[in-house]
Amino acid sequence: MTKTNENMVRVDRREALKVAGASVLAIGFASTAHATPEDAVKYIGEKTGGAAATEGSAKVTIKLPEIAENGATVPITVVVDSPMTDADHVKHIHLVADGNPSPQIVSFNLTPGCGKAEVSTRIRLGKTQNVIAAAVMSDGSVHTNKQEVKVTIGGCGG
């Protein structure tokens, strides 16, 4: 076991954290009940009027850290491939969590005036889970994609 500071400084945090598995941690949601992936799907159905969704759609890109340093503040960017014209644009982007106390995170409502379907925000994730982005297009079609985020566990018993 060598523990010199100098040879550890350049540790790649992401590499180091790939010692993985599954976690439970609560940040501001001291709640026992958690949404399930089924709840997430159901919620998306409610928000989109039950339209059949194209899952894993290449039109929807989610940028999320693979590992969130703290679940309380996780930066996310969603980009939807759309010309954003009057005839063809994104109307809504729903962000949904499948492991938080409730599935809904935020819904963005866009218009052709946006020019580009790209939005960023910061979200709370109580534990390692998937974040789903569901884009509702002006023709009523729904495109979804999802991305897993590992939420870190603090060292001290906290």
């Binding site: 076991m1 550890m8 400084v9 540790v11 954290l17 010692v19 340093e69 930066p75 001290c156």
Partner: protein, 281 residues
């Protein structure tokens, strides 16, 4: 106490030139001047790209609305003296430091400074409070209030990129007694978990504790917006949090113990650029 060579003890001896032992009173000047780290690094260097990006863009840095609000307070006359900060110091970034000739640039890099009145260290937070009391004849902002955090951020920000400097480890320096006290604190085990600062931040810096990459415990990023707190916070809040985590009774904000530790940490981090208000996990 019997001496046993353990793996851990060996590691400490092998570690980055750690000439500083647990004893503090018998150090020679030469010893105390020796830097405890071979390489000093900021928590920024091990933060994720997302967290760094949040800090790099003042617009995305969630500390900044607090600084904006403080900038308004800076220009607002207050107290019986009906004076504003600007009346004496000019604009926060005024290189000449207004009518009093005391610029804010450099404050963040030089503090804690020696306060002849208390015969000990004074940090930026307490200095702001003292200014309010002495010059504005006003009720000072409470430690850790949004106002004081905003104002501390505004002041420290003027030194961003400047290197931390201190002479506190020199016996001739008036801060030397506080430096010694801070050093003793750093190496003393405490709390039910029985850990000294050095066990995490010196012996095991850059190593994972669960998912937490241990830092060198440097202070150059403070005050900071901590993702975990979802709020700005002071260095003393971080001290209190650390103490609580190891199940040790924390000291009060602005206490002599924490001021001494702050003085000592400034020395451990000398040369590091001031980043406050930073963003940390």
């Amino acid at each position: 106490m019997h001496k046993v060579k353990s793996v851990t003890a060996m590691a400490v001896l092998l570690g980055a030139g750690l000439a500083l032992g647990a004893c503090t009173t018998e150090s020679t000047t030469k010893d105390v001047m020796k830097h405890p780290y071979k390489e000093v690094w900021s928590g920024y260097s091990t933060a994720t790209p997302e967290t760094r990006a949040m800090q790099d863009d003042d617009f995305a840095n969630p500390y900044m609305p607090y600084v904006d609000a403080a900038a308004e307070l800076w220009d607002t006359p207050a107290g019986e003296a009906k004076k504003s900060c600007a009346d004496c110091h000019g604009a926060p970034d005024d290189a000449k430091g207004g009518s009093m000739g005391i610029p804010m640039k450099g404050v963040g890099a030089k503090y804690p400074a020696y306060d002849p009145e208390s015969h000990g260290p004074i940090n930026v937070e307490l200095r702001i409070q003292k200014c309010q009391t002495d010059h504005q004849k006003a009720k000072p902002f409470k430690y850790e209030s949004d106002e004081l955090l905003g104002m501390t951020g505004l002041v420290v920000m003027q030194s961003r990129g400047m290197k931390r400097e201190t002479k506190a480890a020199e016996q001739s320096d008036p801060l030397y007694p506080a430096w010694l006290q801070g050093k003793a604190f750093y190496y003393q085990r405490r709390g039910q978990l029985d850990l000294a600062c050095k066990h995490c931040h010196e012996d095991n810096a850059a190593i994972l504790v669960r998912a937490e990459l241990l830092s060198q415990g440097q202070s150059n990023g403070f005050p900071t917006y901590r993702l975990k707190w979802q709020k700005p916070g002071s260095l003393h809040r971080r001290f209190r949090g650390c103490n609580n985590n190891i199940r040790s009774e924390p000291y009060a904000y602005g206490s002599d113990e924490y001021l001494a530790l702050e003085t000592y940490l400034a020395w451990r981090g000398r040369g590091l650029p001031i980043e406050g208000p930073s963003v940390r996990k």
